[in-house]
Subunit: 221 residues, 2 copies
DNA sequence: ACCGGTTTGTTCTCGCGTTCACAAACTCAT
DNA sequence: ATGAGTTTGTGAACGCGAGAACAAACCGGT
């Protein structure tokens, strides 16, 4: 959202494409583990659950990594996507709010395997301090600034109750955290230049409920 | 995706709007709890974190529930949105896969408060059977069909490892489950008419990592 | 009854994303 | 070398959603 005029070679990739790149990455990893060394856009698209034309257009934003008449080299393409997303490097992450969800996040293996390293678990409740979760000690929320500075943390995860989420976000932003993944059921307000992504479990269910209701309307029992 | 020609009075609401309605609902609940009985589109939009024009356009798909020169009655609008989404009724839900994430989901209070009732927790691991999670007994996965039939479950939640997710989805669909919320890190294939929403924690982080990387490129240390 | 101020509902325009369709480019067999 | 077959990369058309802007409608005071 900040005006980055990009004197770099970095073409700006559409947001919708960025959101799909991790899916392609996972599909490629899956193919590689199955022993496949080359794949067509059709095959990869099927594995990723998208249209093959869309896949090709998405990949074209990164460059021309395929060979016409042949397809894509799985390992090569995988590396290129990983580099573009940034998962070839190490991303230190802080999780704030060690309730049920915080526990689950701390134990989630999908983070570490993609370069995300949980460097600290923080909670405001003194009763939790010292507790070991996923082999990491839960520490006071006030340690946030020191930890962010020491580990150069750029990404923060908020798994607190809705009431505390904005405060946590403010503190994170003040410390220099540039991206926040928010699981709390509230709308966060952050300054321009800070990225926020929201995951709201009950909203997802409500969207499904809407569609279920529509289906049920058409077919009276 | 199925051709529902909608002889009903139900206008078809754009998908983007459907995804925002739960946000408005939450904002309205918040306003109601704060004692506000009337609000303008500007105020509600601010609370929901969207543009006021977008909010008004979204609400116009439901009908004309506001009063020009005045605004919206908080309780009235809240009920209308809740009815449209379907959260005025009770939605029985089954959760399959009681690992760390399944635990968190079972305990998540945001479900019950919005009409979603967890009627069963299922897991393939016999070691887990009988265990009490959130006051509900974990049962064998094979009980799925009976439970879905008995409770008329329409929505299923998958929180298993990626390897088992497709099997679970197939079984759910076979039982008549029409909507699936998938937390497993895999692309589910389901027949037309079945809705699937995917929540992938590591993908969200990867998207943030991409943006962080871009920010870091512009400012060399 | 009328007028100024306010706020909704809607129309219009613009930009983004998706999809189609095809030319360019590569492989392999002859 | 040439041609048939295959697959990528991209130009163009299309549809959806976002945002601006405005007319219609309502309230309150005089």
């Amino acid at each position: 959202m900040t005006a980055r005029t990009s004197t770099e070679s970095s073409r700006d990739i559409p947001e919708a494409t960025v959101a799909r790149l991790p899916v392609y990455l996972r599909a490629l990893t899956s193919l590689a583990e199955a022993g496949t060394s080359t794949c067509s856009s059709e095959a990869l698209a099927a594995a990723a659950g998208v249209n093959s034309a869309k896949l090709r257009k998405d990949l074209s934003y990164l460059g021309s990594y395929g060979t016409r008449g042949v397809g894509y080299d799985v390992d090569y393409l995988r590396y290129q996507i990983a580099r573009e997303i940034g998962v070839t490097q190490d991303w230190p992450v802080v999780i704030v709010g060690i309730g049920n969800l915080g526990h689950a996040l701390a134990n989630y293996s999908g983070f570490r395997s993609r370069g995300f390293r949980v460097v600290a678990l923080l909670d405001a409740d003194p009763a939790r301090h010292g507790e070991l979760v996923a082999g990491i000690e839960v520490r006071p929320f006030d340690d946030l600034e020191r930890i962010v500075r020491e580990h150069a943390v750029a990404i923060g995860v908020i798994a607190t109750p809705a009431g505390s989420a904005q405060d946590v976000a403010d503190r994170m932003v003040a410390c220099g955290v540039g991206s926040i993944l928010n699981f709390a059921a509230t709308v966060l307000t952050v300054p321009a230049g800070v990225d926020v992504r929201k995951v709201d479990l009950s909203i997802e269910l409500q969207i499904l409920a809407y569609h279920e209701q529509r289906k049920a309307q058409g077919e009276p029992a």
